[in-house]
């Protein structure tokens, strides 16, 4: 069994210090790892990243993050990622990491992602240079995420993004802004590998649960959506497996 805690869009600055800590101090009792789905900071400054590391670091379990659009606002994303790495936090961007937990290998591949929209209402690589650059950015990030997912050898594979890979978890947001909240290319990347769970943030007014066209469960863990310090998901649960085996035997 692997227990994954997850949250996104915590937007840490000095005024948030201490808010999450009582719940985070109890996290190792209920989870083996914490994944944070981007928008760690308000403006993406190194000072705010230091606040994030203070609040979310030193938990006694590994912390894995992707950056979000807020973390790019000050054009210091490289410095932000370096500080977080120096503080022992794993930052993924078109890359993956594997953790040994309770005899199982948990693989996590992550990328910020980007907008672009979904089937029936998506942007195309056509027209003005700026429009083509937008869609090329979407595709390049999704391709790197797909390659990272397919390159991991593990027992349970999780995809971590900031932008949404499906429209299901955007329900509640205005339809007009869906193309700024996610893109189908991320979903296709997730479906190109044996992904067990996809986690994202970014959509503050969205909803919690969805599924890719390939059947991968998707969870929007943006803090305003889950309305608590983090959610906990259990993978490779022996209890569930034993229950399924028992159920199949009685059929």
């Amino acid at each position: 069994m692997i227990r994954i805690a997850a949250v996104g869009d915590v937007h840490v600055d000095k005024d948030v210090l201490g808010r999450y800590r009582p719940a985070l101090d109890r996290l190792p009792e209920v989870a083996d790892v914490l994944l944070v789905a981007g928008d760690l900071t308000r403006h993406g400054t190194v000072a705010e990243a230091r606040c994030f590391a203070t609040e979310f670091g030193g938990l006694g379990v590994p912390v894995i993050v992707v950056l979000g659009n807020h973390d790019h606002q000050s054009d210091q994303e490289t410095e932000v990622a370096r500080l977080l790495t120096d503080e022992g936090i794993t930052v993924l961007e078109g890359s993956a990491t594997v953790l040994e937990l309770h005899g199982h290998r948990l693989g996590v591949a992550g990328a910020k992602g980007f907008g672009g929209g979904f089937a029936g209402a998506c942007a195309s690589n056509f027209g003005e240079r700026e429009m083509k650059a937008f869609v090329e950015t979407t595709e390049a990030i999704a391709e790197r995420l797909g390659a990272a997912l397919r390159g991991v050898e593990c027992d349970a594979l999780v995809a971590l993004t900031h932008y949404a890979p499906v429209p299901d978890t955007l329900a509640g947001e205005p339809l007009e802004i869906y193309p700024f909240l996610g893109c189908y290319q991320l979903g296709r990347a997730i479906d190109s590998a044996p992904t067990a769970l996809a986690l994202h943030g970014h959509a503050h007014h969205g909803s919690e649960r969805g599924r890719t066209p390939g059947g991968v469960p998707v969870r929007n863990v943006a803090h305003p959506v889950i309305k608590q310090a983090y959610n906990v998901y259990r993978l490779l649960s022996e209890e569930v497996d034993a229950g399924l085996v028992a159920a199949s035997r009685t059929r």
Binding site: R26, H204, R219, H223, P224, V232, Y233
Partner: protein
Amino acid sequence: MGDDMAPEHDEYLEAEIQRLLTEHGRVAEQGITVHRREQTLILGGEVETAERRDEICRQITSRYPDLEIACDIGIIRAQAPTDVEEIS
């Protein structure tokens, strides 16, 4: 952002305030909803701290002093979870 003239139509006002709340360095919030009901501007959504909520109202009042504001912005709870979801 646009010029400092008060917009003559509600839709322009709502758009300007939406951008103000995202682009102003002391706010940087993308999840705040802005609706005009008669003469009152109704703000919705949730933020991380009471200081951020108060700053949103302060910035709008500072830019549009004649505007009446109803603030329904909440503070997101940050308590530990009490349940676990099985993914299978």
